[in-house]
């Protein structure tokens, strides 16, 4: 009796928790509402299955619990029932898979008008690079990373000279324009993850990965690293600000190009940390040292 | 990962063949008692030790198939520079073939009960296998002397890793062979000795096969062969 009751309570409790609890996803800020919808479909199908199975079990436990003189039925198998259940399951699985694959094909097909933005992860900070007037990003190479060239842009590549370099500071994006995020790391695996955008992808040293999205509302969003990257992993935060077009252009105008940064006399911007809200990597490393020595 | 998947497909084929003889479609609740047709579903007539070795060789095969998979995947990166294989490897291959042949003769002799031939064969096989290991070591020395160090290029790393792993398996085999050889001199029951010799022969043939496969791999023929296959398919 008690067991059957608890099983029912588990179903009721889980459903109520799902409906009433305050813990739910963050308001979406990109075009990937498709993904949210797929999750909702999945919740419905799996929720029905969970409730059915557990409630059926509760009924069995209640109805067929041992009493004096009871004897179980003898039924080795029931082909028809089993075939039906297999078919129903296959239909359910297809109902999950088809919308999933449909949305995935959108996810991996980058629209042709997407602008490229490069994200560079390193222990434990985010940097960004945007194409300059030529609309092209210069090639890069980890071997070229140095104090003067923190992102490893190949200096001889003319396409790279006018690239806008945002080192360890906030990224701004214009609202409503699709962006293709090119992801690169110069040390370990990282993962560029903004919960509100829903999309994420690992960054692998030695290759360039990507995903795309369209920001749909303005605001300030926190970037989290979602792939374990060493002790500083939980502190590797960054900021993406989605601006209106005017704000974005104004911000872009204040940024420095690769050519300006690598020019012999520094204009001071590399040390000037205006517009930056996230702690840069060296600071995190220093913080970890003090923590470690405690 | 295609090499390991093909390998597993072969294993799955074996497993499927075996399962198809286990009466998976029968309804066991209807079959009470000890019917005559159930005898065929009992264990295999092969000696248990041979089946054990067979399963072990499948695991070893899996290991080398995975190394091969990793080899091909790493090979695709542009920094790969194939290293020239020392000519000594040809000689080593010959020695290992000799070792395998010696064990095959030994197992024939063991079946006929010719104990002297068995002893001679075991000794030959042991010595040649040992010579193979020495030869492999010489090849390593030669390569390092020519400046092909372990860490200088992934092709080198794989060469040392795969040949070393194969050498370790030969070394393990030598332990087993040593035990069989001892028993050939101390006078164990003939059927036991015969089983021991057959197990050694099985293991040796397998390691020879693995060696030929990795030799082809390291020499680059395997890659060429796969390219040709791919071109034929497209």
């Amino acid at each position: 009796m008690a067991v059957a009751l608890v099983l029912v309570l588990i179903v009721v409790g889980s459903v109520l928790f799902h409906l009433l609890s305050p813990w739910w996803w963050t308001p979406i800020a990109s075009n990937w509402a498709y993904i949210d919808n797929t999750i909702i479909i999945t919740f419905w199908i799996t929720g029905v299955v969970f409730a059915t199975v557990v409630l059926f079990m509760a009924y069995c436990v209640f109805r067929f619990r041992h009493r004096e003189g009871n004897r179980a039925a003898y039924e080795p198998e029931n082909k028809r029932l089993e075939s039906w259940l297999t078919i129903v399951t296959a239909v359910g699985v297809t109902a999950l898979l088809v919308p999933g694959l449909f949305v995935w094909s959108r996810f991996v097909t980058v629209p042709s008008d997407a602008t490229e933005v490069e994200v560079i992860g390193q222990q434990w900070q985010w940097s960004f690079r945007l194409p300059g007037k030529d609309g092209k990003l210069g090639t890069s190479e980890t071997r070229d990373v140095s104090a003067d060239n923190p992102l490893g842009v190949i200096p001889s590549d003319p396409n790279g000279q006018d690239d806008v370099v945002v080192e360890a500071a906030d990224l701004h994006l214009p609202v409503g324009k699709p962006v293709k995020m090119l992801l690169r790391s110069i040390d370990v695996l990282h993962d560029f993850y903004v919960p509100e955008f829903r999309a994420k992808m690992d960054m692998i040293p030695g290759s360039v990965t990507y995903f795309w999205f369209t920001p749909t509302r303005t605001g300030t969003f926190q970037v989290l690293c979602a792939e374990l990257c060493g002790q500083g992993h939980p502190m590797m935060h960054g900021v993406v600000m989605v601006d209106t077009q005017e704000d974005y252009v104004a911000w872009l105008g204040q940024q420095q190009t690769f050519a300006q940064l690598s020019a012999p006399q520094k204009t001071g911007s590399a040390d000037d940390r205006t517009g930056q809200t996230a702690a840069p990597g060296p600071e995190i490393a220093a913080r970890l040292e003090t923590v470690g020595s405690r | 990962m295609s090499v390991i998947l093909v390998f597993l497909l072969v294993i799955a084929g074996f497993a499927g063949w075996w399962l198809s003889h286990q009466g998976l479609m029968t309804k066991p609740w209807l079959e009470q008692g000890l019917a005559g047709d159930l005898v065929g579903l009992d264990r295999s007539a092969l000696p248990t030790a041979k089946i054990g070795l067979g399963v072990f060789l499948a695991v070893v095969g899996c290991l080398f198939a995975l190394f091969t998979s990793a080899y091909f995947m790493r090979m695709a990166v542009p920094d790969w520079q194939p290293l020239p294989l020392p000519r000594l490897l040809w000689l080593n291959t010959g020695v290992l073939v000799l070792s395998s042949v010696a064990l095959q003769c030994t197992s024939v002799a063991a079946r006929r009960g010719q104990i002297d031939t068995v002893r001679l064969g075991l000794a030959t096989a042991g010595l040649t296998a040992f010579a193979f290991l020495v030869g492999q070591f010489m090849a390593w020395r030669q390569l390092t002397a020519d400046g092909y160090f372990l860490a200088s290029n992934p092709a080198n790393s794989f060469f040392y890793l795969i040949t070393g792993m194969h050498g370790l398996h030969v070394l393990g085999g030598l332990v087993g062979l040593g035990r069989t050889t001892t028993s050939a001199w101390t006078g164990t029951r003939p059927e036991r000795l015969r089983l021991g010799v057959e197990l050694c022969a099985m293991y040796w043939h397998f390691l020879l096969f693995v060696w030929l496969a990795i030799f082809a791999l390291l020499a680059g023929w395997a890659a060429t062969f796969i390219d040709i296959c791919r071109q034929l398919l497209t």
Binding site: W25, A72, P76, V93, A147, R198, P205 | M1, L41, D42
Partner: protein, 589 residues
Amino acid sequence: MVDITPADGIPPAEVAEVELYHPHSWWTKYVFSQDAKVIAVQYSATATAIGLVALVLSWLMRLQLGFPGTFDFITPEAYYQFITMHGMIMVIYLLTALFLGGFGNYLIPLMVGARDMVFPYVNMLSYWIYLLAVLVLVSSFFAPGGPTGAGWTLYPPQAIMSGTPGGQDWGIILMLSSLILFIIGFTMGGLNYVVTVLQGRTRGMTMMRLPLTVWGIFTATVMALLAFPALFVASVMMLLDRVLGTSFFMPAISEMGEQLPHNGGSPILFQHLFWFFGHPEVYIVALPAFGIVSDLISTHARKNIFGYRMMVWAIVGIGALSFVVWAHHMYVSGMHPYFGFFFATTTLIIAIPTAIKVYNWVLTLWRGDIHLTIPMLFALAFIVTFVNGGLTGLFLGNVVVDVPLSDTMFVVAHFHMVMGVAPILVVFGAIYHWYPKVTGRMLNETLGRFHFWVTFLGAYLIFFPMHYLGLMGVPRRYAELTDMTIMTESAHHLNSFISVMAFIVGFAQMVFLFNLIWSVRHGREAGGNPWRATTLEWQTPQTPPAHGNFGKDLPIVYRWAYDYSVPGAKEDFIPQNMPGSFGPSREPA
């Protein structure tokens, strides 16, 4: 071949090549024993001991997550060491070793009607190498720099770099060495389990008369033998990268402004190798649990397992399919996006045989005679948690849904529910079920029920709400959950609640351990077959079974393992070794 008719007086089969090793001294009887039953207890005890370490580590982690900033000694460095060791111990050194080394060793020979494993000496070596692997693992706690903090997935490059605890110290070296040892030791044991099922079966014990426990352990062992080499290869290659400076997995790296000597290696290659092992590993833990829970449900509901043939096919099918789904752990790893289509499809297909197994378990309950014994309670709890965890697997397996959820607490909740809580509940059920056979005494009922309710409800309350933290976007493997704009105040409260539940559930395990030890002496006498079960391990002449298991003659098997409540039979169970025909199946086939 002579035609053998169903008559008594058939000579029982003995395996000629297996010469039973007879112990002569206390040392060879209890320490360097070649008896599978002793080895099973050794495996189980070692696995439990190291599992306790992992339990304590989980408490420390929950202290940090539930009450951030309160416990100064849990630095990020220590936190990452805790999660790594917790994960690795639980998955490999506890669950794999306990299911295959512990239950496999004890149950396979007894259930198939063999005197012992076919290679007892190799079996003994297997345990001692496993113990060595455990000791090497534990030694990393005392090594300079402590154990590795790379996460149980040990992804390079970070696993062998200085930004990760133990990466440039001893930690990672000891971890990889321990894994290599474990795999060698496991292969020795695994050969035994497989070949004993193939060759050690007694007369009349066809594959289709095997209890599903043996099918589960057998299939899992075959998978483990084929999957562990991938981890072996990955470990050896990473060890070379770390110690000798090769570049299998290490690309060109600029670490904190300094160029490392590596060049061109592929971190993705490691992930492929790791998950080629790692996904089958999930089923290596799950399949024995599937098998055992089938037998628990059938025995305690006094009804044959529903759809035995389907259950066998499903076990084999799941085992085979699990080798072609590995990359669903890598949807956001940056591999070619088109792989996503293939691996999402295979992953969701695997849900079908798994669902069939669940249906057959609950349909076995239907019209049964359900005894709510403690093993049955654990089996019911297993179904609840397994269904829950399995269904959340449909989220993560469906490639695009995985994108927002991967690397969040949702994943943590999912795999703890499905391959942590669910198999562990089966382990508990199995211990309550077979403890009387191993010791001759029953476990204490009151303590058992307390243990059950706290563990089941507590674990559900830990991991069910955790999914919603993941949905919110809280990433996994965060030593500090501070300064996160997505986390509301209430989410932090939820974390504290989860931590408190974790302590309570952990405490209940101490009660269980006490029960285990106390009942060896003080438990109620069990008799030979307290659950009135059909399978051969309950039909041994002595309890606990003596060396050689079955006395003078091996049993002869006349029927399948599930003759419960057969119409026409007097008792509601017919042991497998009882001759004669009963029920609707009068004519022998």
